[in-house]
Structure formats: C-alpha cells, structure tokens
C-alpha cells in the first residue's frame, strides 16, 4: 500500500504543476516548428526535446548532484544539469560550435569584395537599438530588465545562435532559454521577416542592379585572412577573441589544406555532438518560472524588432555606399548582413531574382552574410566589455 502511495506520489500526474504542462506544450510546439515547418531543426529539435525533459516533474533531469561530508557522491545529478554546467555555463559548447562554423565558412566572397564588411557592420544597428528598446521598457516600468539582460536581448538581433548563447550565458543566464529560442526562431523566420522590409526600402531599379563578377581569391589569401582577423581582434577587442579566435581557428583548419582530417571531424562529428548537447542544455533553462513571464513576451517582441531594424540598416547602408561607390552594390545584399548564414543570403538571391531573373546575388550576398557573423561577435565583445563595467 505504502508502495502504491510512493508510486502515485512520485508519478507525473500527481506532481505536475500547471507551468510544467504549459512548458511541455512549448517544447512540443518547438518540435512541431522544427519538424513540420523546418525551423532551424538542428538546434530546435534538441532544444524542444530538452524543454520537455526539463519539465517532467520528478524526473530530475536538472537535479544537482548531492555529496556527503566526505565529498563522496550520494546521488548523481541529472543529465541536463551536467550538460548545462560543463558545457554552457563554462562557454565551452558555443565556442566549439563557433570553431565548427568557422570550419564550414567560405570567406572567398568576402575577400573578393571586402567593402561588404560594412554591410555586416550596419546590420548590427539592430542589436543596439534593441538594447535601447529593452532599457526603455524597463524605464517606463512596463517590463523589468537589467542592463545585462538588455544587452543579451539585443544580441538576438545578431541572428547568430552560438553568439547569443555565449553572451547570455555570461550576462543573463536566467534568460538563456527565452533568448536562444527567440534567436533560432527568428533565424528560421528570415524568409518571412526580411522580404517585405527589403522591398519597402528599395526601388525595383535598385533591386535589379547587377553586380560585377567577383574576382578569384587565392589560397594564400584564404589562409592569411583568418590570421589577420585574429590579430586585429587581439589588438583591438580581446573580449571578442574567444568567439572570433575559435571561428578563425576553424577557418584556418579548413583553408590551410594540411589538416583536412581535423577539419572534417570539426565540421561533422564534433559539431554534431556538441550541437545535440548544446540544444539539450539550453532546453534545461526552459523551466516555467524562467520562461512563463511577461519578460519572455517582451524578449520575443524585441527580438523581432531587432531583426527588422538589422535588416533595414543593412539595406540602407548598401544604398548609402552606392552614393559614393563606383561599382554599385545591389542593396538587397545588405539584408544578408544580419548573418543567419546562409538563409539570409538565399533570401537576398530570391528577392533579387524577382526583379531581374538573370541576376544571381547568392555569392555576392555571402560576403555581408559572413561579415554579419564577424560583426555580431564584435558587438558581443563590446557588450561583454562595457556591461561588465556597468
């Protein structure tokens, strides 16, 4: 009888709270979006599943290990506890992912046309405007964000998952779930969010601009570039060095041609393993008390705004560049500056084809696209530096 009571008392039905039911629904919703709608499934499948797991009452996925006075383990921690503390709290997982992303990145188009770096810079306006929006909401008492939280929310506009997770795990870990979900969701929504903004800010003639063909880029340039970027970061903004350092390391392994087996593993087994655990670990922060509050709604709204402003800034910057430049830039590729690689570049290409069926912008848009990754990492470095002193 006692046993029946124990079984019943520890069952999910007896323990579950309303918030957990809702969060399980959120987790299943993320899985639906990932599987049925194709929203960034590589991250949202693990995050969604992790959300469900973390909200199973009594399963202890997020439990801390318990040690006795002698330091002997009495009961082990939960899987998500270990993943979060070993990989996310320490920043290791986002950095390894960034190494893998570096190993998958082709800087060729950027090197062929370096001024597209400015488009990647402009798109970061979205980040900082959103920070302003967040502190504004806080100022007017609508929501309650600290400057650390506002900075983390802003970084959603960087459209770069690992960067957002890295910054948030440093500045505002309690918001990690909401911010990661917002970041990946909006990255998936790029094909819906961006085109109207792009069309609104450009004339049909501008959208039809045909760009000069990109020059060839030598192997040496490709090898020297990540080292050059690393040196610039080291000299000017060391707070961005963890992210950009690992990014450049991955890229150097890719391009140097002498460590292909390391590069292959980085792009496959290693990044896949870490992606699974990163996603599950982010899910572990999706508990009801951290997610089901007005701030999350604010984060989702601000994140959308950040994306829109970033897109607009990129397009407008391209138009500004055209005022001075000899070789005109198609302003649509400015929208790719938010990163969301390679989705945003594909969107630019698609919208471009609507105005001029012979105009292939994909490779031209890859320049600002990877520039956006650099820009966001730089913005992340500034945030970590300045907010740490505030």
């Amino acid at each position: 009888m006692e046993n029946l009571i124990s079984l019943w008392a520890s069952s999910g039905v007896a323990q579950i709270e309303f918030g957990q039911i809702v969060m399980m629904g959120v987790g299943l919703g993320l899985l639906f979006l990932a599987i049925n709608k194709g929203f960034e499934p590589l991250l949202l499948v693990p995050i969604g599943f992790g959300t469900v797991l973390a909200n199973i009452p009594g399963a202890g996925f997020d439990a801390m290990p318990i040690y006795d006075a002698m330091g002997q383990m009495e009961s082990p921690g939960g899987l998500l506890y270990y993943i979060y503390h070993a990989g996310i709290e320490t920043g290791l997982f986002p950095l390894v992912i960034f190494m893998g992303v570096g190993a998958m990145t082709d800087f060729g188009p950027l090197l062929a046309n370096p001024k597209t770096l400015l488009l990647g810079a402009a798109a970061q306006v979205g980040i900082f405007t959103t920070v302003l929006g967040a502190v504004g909401l806080s100022h007017f008492g609508i929501l309650d964000f600290t400057i650390q939280e506002a900075a983390s929310i802003g970084i959603i506009g960087g459209a770069d998952g690992p960067t957002a997770i890295f910054v948030t795990s440093k500045l505002a870990p309690d918001l990690l779930g909401a911010i990661a979900v917002a970041a990946y969701s909006y990255m998936a929504l790029v094909p819906i969010i961006q085109p109207p903004i792009m069309r609104a800010l450009t004339s049909p003639e501008e959208r039809a601009i045909k760009m000069v063909q990109l020059r060839s880029v030598s192997k040496t340039e490709r090898i020297v570039f990540p080292l050059t970027l690393l040196m610039l970061v080291a000299m000017l903004l060391p707070d961005a060095a963890p992210l950009l350092g690992m990014f450049c390391f991955g890229n150097l392994m890719r391009e140097c041609g002498v460590v292909n087996r390391l590069s292959d593993t980085t792009q496959n087994a290693l990044i896949n393993i870490v992606t699974i655990f990163l996603g599950l670990g982010v899910g572990s922060k999706m508990s009801a008390d951290k997610f089901l509050n007005p701030e999350t709604m604010g984060i989702l709204a601000l994140g959308a705004v950040a994306f829109c402003i970033g897109t607009a800034s990129g397009v407008l910057m391209a138009k500004l560049m055209n005022v001075f430049a000899k070789h005109k830039v198609n302003p649509l590729i400015g929208a790719a500056g938010v990163s969301a690689v390679p989705m945003a570049a594909r969107v630019a290409n698609k919208v471009g084809l609507e105005s001029n069926p012979q105009n292939f912008l994909l490779m031209h848009a890859m320049g600002p696209n990877v520039a956006g990754v650099i820009g966001s990492a730089v913005a992340a470095g500034v945030m970590i530096n300045l907010v740490g002193n505030m």
């Binding site: 063909q213 060839s216 650099i374 945030m383």
Partner: protein
C-alpha cells in the same frame, strides 16, 4: 537609477556601434592591404578556387550510406 539605465543603454549604443564600425572599417582596409601584400609577394600563384562558382559549403556531407558504399567499393577494388 532608471535614468542611469537609459544612459547605460545609450552608452552601449554609442560605443557599441562605434566599435563595430571602427573595427569592420579597419578590417576592410587591412583586408585590402593583406590581399595586395599576398598578390605582391606571390603574384603567379595559381588561382584554382573561383569564388563565383562555388556553392556555400553548408551541406558538405555525402549521405553516410553512400559513404559506406564507396568505402566498400574501394575495398573491393583494392582487392582486400
């Protein structure tokens, strides 16, 4: 306190965007310089990778069962 928060946000905006633009503008210059230097030092280098023609490398993998097929084909071929 709340005024400070706004002020902090404005500061972040100002110095943040300032740094981003400064950094990336510098990077434009440094990249041009880098490319010129590389070109100057090794002008005759074979340029085998055309940026225009290559797809972005985001799905670089062949499906694993195909890889297995190839591996076994190669093993067979080698007479092992």
């Amino acid at each position: 306190m709340e005024v400070t928060l706004i002020a902090q946000g404005l500061d972040l905006m100002l110095f943040g965007m300032g740094t981003v633009f400064t950094f990336l503008t510098l990077l434009v210059g440094v990249t041009h310089l880098m490319s010129a230097t590389v070109e100057f030092l090794s002008p005759a280098e074979e340029i085998n990778v055309k940026a225009q023609g290559s797809m972005p490398p985001l799905n670089p993998k062949i499906e694993p069962n195909i890889v297995k097929a190839i591996q076994s084909a190669i093993d067979q071929h080698r007479g092992r």
